[in-house]
């Protein structure tokens, strides 16, 4: 089976202050399978967000190639939906206005895009908040809007960049459960970036770990063969957690 996304030997440098070259990613190769929930796990400064932005098309790699459905990626496009850590909602638009953004930009007529947006607002559990503005919502609710907005654009792949990084621990746990629920009710290929081991094991079909400190390099790939819904206190969950922790401590 051909992979949904195929990254080959990606290397990325940033130029900083006009002359300082920062090596961010070194020789990253990975495949994402169709309808798979793949988690990229790495500590801060491992280049994981940059990798996601390269796949989104917002950055171009210095070396290597990325293919989506066998096609070379050239720039951002609606086939990849990005969910940002800092929400990135339009403050002057309501929940409905934000969620219908994608279809609106692609010229879908009003009643149709309202129907699409409503479906995903319901899916993420924001029914009744259509007319609220982002500043009237809690952090978890804002990120639900971000997820609904990405879904409503009907992307082939969902890219989530530490989407729950700004949430408190309890809300975060709850949103992880919700993410699984949403994903299971409408399966997409998901690429989820996080620095949290529990989150990675709870969510992922597979976990790709990156070695810490720049430049980011591939470390290990783990298959998470735990039945869903998963329990954080399950013995196998804890064993895998231990395994990943031990492996990353060797690196540090």
């Amino acid at each position: 089976m051909t992979p949904k996304i195929e990254c080959r030997n990606i290397t990325k440098f940033f130029i900083q202050k006009g002359k300082q070259r920062v090596h961010v990613l070194e020789d990253i190769s990975l495949e994402v399978r169709d309808k798979e929930f793949l988690v990229i796990l790495g500590p801060g400064q491992s280049g994981k967000s940059t990798l996601l932005r390269i796949i989104a098309g917002l950055e171009t790699p210095n070396e290597g190639s990325i293919k989506l459905d066998g096609q070379q990626i050239a720039g951002p496009g609606p086939d990849r939906g990005l969910v940002f850590q800092s929400y990135m909602l339009f403050g002057w638009k309501t929940v409905m206005g934000n969620v219908e953004l994608g279809p609106m930009l692609n010229g879908v007529d009003k009643s149709e895009r309202r129907r699409i947006a409503q479906r995903y607002i319901d899916l993420v559990g924001l029914n009744g908040f259509e007319k609220h503005y982002p500043h009237q919502l809690s952090g978890g609710m804002k990120q639900r809007v971000g997820i609904a907005r990405a879904y409503a654009n009907n992307p082939k792949v969902m890219l989530l960049d530490e989407p729950f990084g700004q949430l408190d621990a309890q809300t975060r746990y709850f949103m992880e459960k919700e993410t699984v629920r949403i994903w299971e009710s409408e399966k997409r290929t998901v690429l989820f970036v996080t620095n949290n081991i529990d989150e990675a094991i709870y969510l992922g079909d597979r976990i790709v770990t990156l070695k810490g400190k720049l430049p980011g390099r591939m470390h290990e790939v783990y298959d998470v063969e735990l039945p869903r819904p998963r329990e954080h206190t399950d013995m196998k969950f804890l064993q895998l957690r231990q395994q990943i922790t031990d492996a990353s401590e060797l690196v540090l």
Partner: protein
């Protein structure tokens, strides 16, 4: 979200202070004139101005028109100039902010013309338009268009770059990003421009009328000077101030309604 209605009381002193300050201002002013601290030939007392206002509601003497006509003439000039300033300045500033080509063409010219005060244009204006409505509108327009361009330009330049990237991942075109993202996020700055441009227009209105006019609030002030009537001068000034404040309140109200999503 669940909430219950509660009354939030402002401390009494905070309600009284503004009233007290305005009252004190007028009382001191009145006393200064009445007790001859300032000679009556140099300044009119508030009560004099008030009674002159009542007279001027119906009496066209000594300056040729009632206060209402003066205000109406000024308002016409100012509004035409103001609307033209908004109509030309805001789109120009917005386009300059987002489209490099427009910025390249318009910015150097704009920067050259901008430092010339509108009043310096008065002689040329008289050559071109005479002393009719057109010339005054042109001067007012010049004053108002500058803040419109600057604020709209800066507003677009301040658009959150991550929001622009976000829009690109949703497949938005350059024009769509401009229309659905840059313009709305520039709106707070644009509304700032409405206020600033209005102040500039009003200021230039008086400047334009001081030189070339036969009616209008600025002309009223000039006539007060020529006839050595301080009460007429102050009445003209107060009228300009009150009308400006009233329009400011109106714009503030419109702004609140339009910017509902942006907490202020």
């Amino acid at each position: 979200m669940a909430y219950e209605e509660v009354k939030v009381k402002k401390p009494l002193s905070l309600i009284l202070l503004p009233i007290l300050s305005v009252l004190t201002f007028f009382v001191v002013w009145e006393l200064m004139v009445q007790l001859d601290v300032v000679p009556k030939t140099m300044l009119a007392a508030p009560t004099q101005v008030g009674s002159l206002f009542v007279t001027k509601l119906s009496d066209p003497n000594p300056d040729g028109a009632t206060i209402f006509i003066h205000a109406w003439v000024s308002a016409q000039e100012a509004f035409i100039g103001y609307l033209l300033a908004l109509g030309i300045g805001l789109p120009l500033g917005l386009f300059m902010g987002w489209f490099g080509v427009v910025r390249g063409i318009a910015r150097p010219l704009f920067e050259l013309i901008r430092p010339i005060p509108p009043i310096a244009w008065i002689p040329l204006t008289i050559f071109w338009f005479g002393i009719g409505l057109g010339g005054k509108v042109f001067i007012i327009w010049l004053g108002g268009v500058v803040p419109c361009v600057i604020n709209a330009f800066v507003g677009v330049r301040m658009t959150n770059p991550t929001l622009i990237q976000m829009a690109r991942t949703y497949g938005a075109s350059d024009w769509q990003i401009f229309k659905t993202l840059c313009v709305p996020s520039a709106l707070p700055m644009v509304f700032g421009a409405l206020q600033i441009a209005l102040a500039c227009c009003w200021t230039n209105l008086v400047g334009a009328e001081l030189l070339a006019a036969d009616q209008g609030l600025g002309y009223l002030i000039t006539m007060g000077r020529r006839l050595a009537l301080p009460d007429l001068v102050v009445l003209g000034m107060v009228s300009v101030g009150l009308a400006g404040a009233a329009i400011g309140v109106l714009i503030d109200y419109v702004e609140r309604r339009l910017l509902a999503g942006i907490r202020r």
